[in-house]
Subunit: 317 residues, 2 copies
DNA sequence: TTGTAAGCGTTATCAC
DNA sequence: GTGATAACGCTTACAA
């Protein structure tokens, strides 16, 4: 293993100069710096992260805590995880994955990325002793990264209007959480700006609940209706119900989902959906947390990333 | 932060005694041991893993390398990852996730868990300088953990026979890899022991390729046929094609999948499938790798875990 | 069986 | 701007 000392010898400088080139390059003269950089390259030097962690009183580990039931959300989180680790890898950070808050005290970490947090979680969040960032909007002032839910549904609703669907109905998730409010707001705003009256139904986030709901209320839905759904899961159920009832997609009925992770590609016909840039969001989460750690816990604020509408076979083209 | 020294003081022993209680408890007398253990508890001592890593010349990081295209396999891997991290967490190990072999040299690790390795990968696998274990059967002598693919399809095929499906057809994945051979072997063995002639078709592992195939060859499939599929993905396509053709499931046609991760629950009708104990497999992967690391790379052999048949709506009951 | 001393590779601190 | 020294918390090697 090649160490800092090896590089120092090779470059004829002290260990500290090498360390400075790595951590505070601006404190080193150009000449020495390039000398050291050359030495690092020729020796293929790679810092020992345990030693660094020890000296800096860090762990170089971040915990990722998933508070939702994993069974129902898997494909979604794999992508997020991916983005997160890509962000972490760049900074030689490793990950620990937790599904229960209980484990949070087991072993050390420099910070936490938390997803699926609900209003009720703020109780213990406030007690955390290490920096953390949330995945998902919240209105308690916690730093977070999320898709711009409002804009997402604005785009979807506007698209449905452009495609001349007469009636535009929102199938939401029956949870009193920020992300849902934002999605509904995007829908409502857009409809109102076109002098149309919003119509919202809220259901548990399962395909079968949506399927059941559409089935039960089938007579109430005129032809030329587009369903804006708050998730691909709901959208899948809506599509299935429409097909079962003999409705024609996309001619008489349009369906737009939200998420764009896996499900939308597996479903048939292929779903038009608002695609969240999940991998990107994961990277941003890492970046935000690592920055927060390096700034000893300074507030980072919120980061909303605009999603994109993927146009496929459940809307007119 | 409470350190080894703090515990030592509290228990009136030397640091080394505390260290021994943690690492080699058998070398310490009962009296001292319980004294130290008590001290650790009252102080809420938790070892600093960076310091330990540094002293032992370890990193306490394991890299998990996914060689397959992530888009098509996400839900599957989330569960695996889960199991892996559960195993790692127990030993204070953290994870780094890679999707490309190139990154393997970036940053240090004590070992690798590798999934999706194909025959052609042995070239660089042989050159790895750290211990590794594979997820998935191989016939090159690499240590691995996998579902018992052969037994899985034996169970599935036997079940189809018990349910009196007359014709039993295997829809396989057209890859020349060990797992596929094993699955086919399980099917073939079982049929032959009942004096029936195996019939195997091999397709790319996508639902639409299965759907297309069944659609094209529809006339060749008599009523009273059960399709044993090498993946839920294929099974989903088969189901869709049968329904589109007006075939009755499960009365006239049975379908059995393989995997039991996510897709089987989302599909309608719900899939009968051979469920892999993925989380368990992940844990075993961690355990095997950590053991291998602690034994400085000693051979660990193979570990095959029996899957279970989940009986649902695509087979007669 | 227990304790002492040295060292793991890095960074912070304080001289120069 | 650069370098010597101590320190981070733990384990290995050796001495008692």
């Amino acid at each position: 293993m090649v160490t800092l000392s090896d590089v120092a010898k090779e470059a004829n400088v002290s260990k500290m100069t090498v360390s400075r080139v790595i951590n505070h390059p601006e404190q080193v003269t150009k000449e020495l710096r390039s000398l050291v950089e050359k030495a690092m390259k020729t020796l293929h030097y790679s810092p020992n992260s345990a030693a660094r962690a020890l000296a800096k009183n860090r762990t170089n580990v971040v915990k990722f805590i998933i508070l939702e039931n994993i069974d129902t959300t898997e494909p979604y989180y794999m992508n997020l995880l991916f983005g997160i680790t890509q962000g972490l890898n760049r900074h030689q950070y490793a990950l620990q994955l937790l599904t229960s808050v209980d484990e949070i005290t087991k072993g050390n970490a420099d910070g936490y990325i938390i997803t699926g947090a609900r209003s009720s979680d703020s109780e213990w969040l406030d007690k955390l002793d290490k920096p953390f960032v949330l995945f998902g909007e919240n209105r308690y002032g916690y730093d977070y990264v999320d898709t711009d839910n409002k804009i997402g549904e604005q785009i979807a609703t506007q698209y449905a209007l452009n495609k001349n669907y007469q009636s535009i109905i929102f199938i939401g998730i029956n949870e009193k959480e920020a992300f849902e409010y934002s999605r509904e707001a995007g829908y409502i705003n857009t409809l109102q700006s076109h002098n149309k009256v919003p119509k919202i139904f809220r259901l548990p986030n399962h395909s079968h609940s949506a399927q059941h709901f559409i089935d039960e209320h089938w007579k109430e839905f005129a032809h030329n209706t587009c369903f804006i759904c708050a998730s691909d899961r709901l959208a899948t159920g809506v599509v299935r119900a429409i097909i079962a009832k003999g409705g024609e997609i996309p001619k008489d009925f349009g369906v737009i989902g939200f998420d764009g992770i896996f499900l939308d590609q597996v479903s048939h016909p292929k779903l038009t959906t608002v695609k969240q840039p999940i991998i990107k969001l994961g990277e941003l989460l890492s970046d935000m947390l690592l920055q927060k750690i390096s700034q000893s816990g300074a507030q980072q604020g919120e980061l909303l990333i605009e999603p994109t509408l993927i146009k496929r076979d459940t809307t007119r083209n």
